[in-house]
Amino acid sequence: MKNTLKVWRAKKDITQEHLAREMEVTRQTINAIERGKYDPSIKLAFRMAKFFECSIEDIFLYEE
C-alpha cells in the first residue's frame, strides 16, 4: 500500500515526532509507514485522516 503521509505532514509542517505524539504511536512507526514498510491498522488510518482533515483514500492508496 502506497501513501502520501510525508506530503500531508509537510503541508502541516510537523515532524514525525509530533505526528507520533498526536497518534499515540512511536516515531519509528510513523517512519515505517512513510517508507511503506508498515501498513497501519484501520483505526490508525482513520485517526490520521481525521488529524489531517481528509479522507483515508487521500493518504493511503491501495494497489493490487
Partner: protein, 130 residues
C-alpha cells in the same frame, strides 16, 4: 505510578530475593543452586529495570508500545513457536528412537535458551524489516 507497575516492581524484587535466598542458603532439594539463583536474580533484576525504564519513558510522554511493536511481537512469537515445535518434535523422536538416557535439566535449559534467542533474533529481524 499505576497498580500494574507497582506489582511488577514488587514481583521483580521478590524474584531477586528468592534468587538471593537460593544463593545464600543453597537448599539441599535444589539440584543446581547456581543455575536457580542466577535465573531468579536475573529475572528479578531484568523485570525491575524494565519496569523502571517503562515508568521513566511514560513520565516523559514517550510511547513505548504501539500496534507496530505488537505486530512485530506477534510475528516473532509465531515463528519462535513454529521452530520450537519442530525442534521439540525432532528431539522427542530422537529420544524415543535411541532411548538415549538424558537428564531433564540440561534439555530444559537448552530449550529455554533457544526460545529466548529465537524470539529476540526474530523480533529484531522483523523490526528491521518494518
Amino acid at each position: 505510578m499505576q497498580v500494574k507497575e507497582t506489582g511488577m516492581l514488587i514481583v521483580g524484587f521478590i524474584l531477586f530475593l528468592i534468587g538471593l535466598g537460593f544463593h545464600v542458603f543453597e537448599p539441599d532439594w535444589i539440584i543446581n543452586p547456581s543455575g536457580a539463583d542466577g535465573a531468579f536474580i536475573g529475572a528479578g533484576v531484568v523485570l525491575f529495570l524494565a519496569t523502571l525504564r517503562g515508568i521513566r519513558l511514560k513520565n516523559k510522554g514517550t510511547v513505548v508500545e504501539d500496534e507496530r511493536i505488537f505486530h512485530i511481537a506477534e510475528k516473532a512469537s509465531h515463528k519462535t513457536l513454529s521452530i520450537l515445535i519442530i525442534l521439540e518434535g525432532t528431539l522427542m523422536v530422537f529420544l524415543g528412537v535411541t532411548a538415549f538416557d538424558i537428564q531433564a535439566y540440561p534439555i530444559v535449559s537448552l530449550l529455554f535458551a533457544l526460545t529466548t534467542l529465537s524470539y529476540v533474533g526474530f523480533y529484531h529481524w522483523y523490526k528491521r524489516q518494518m
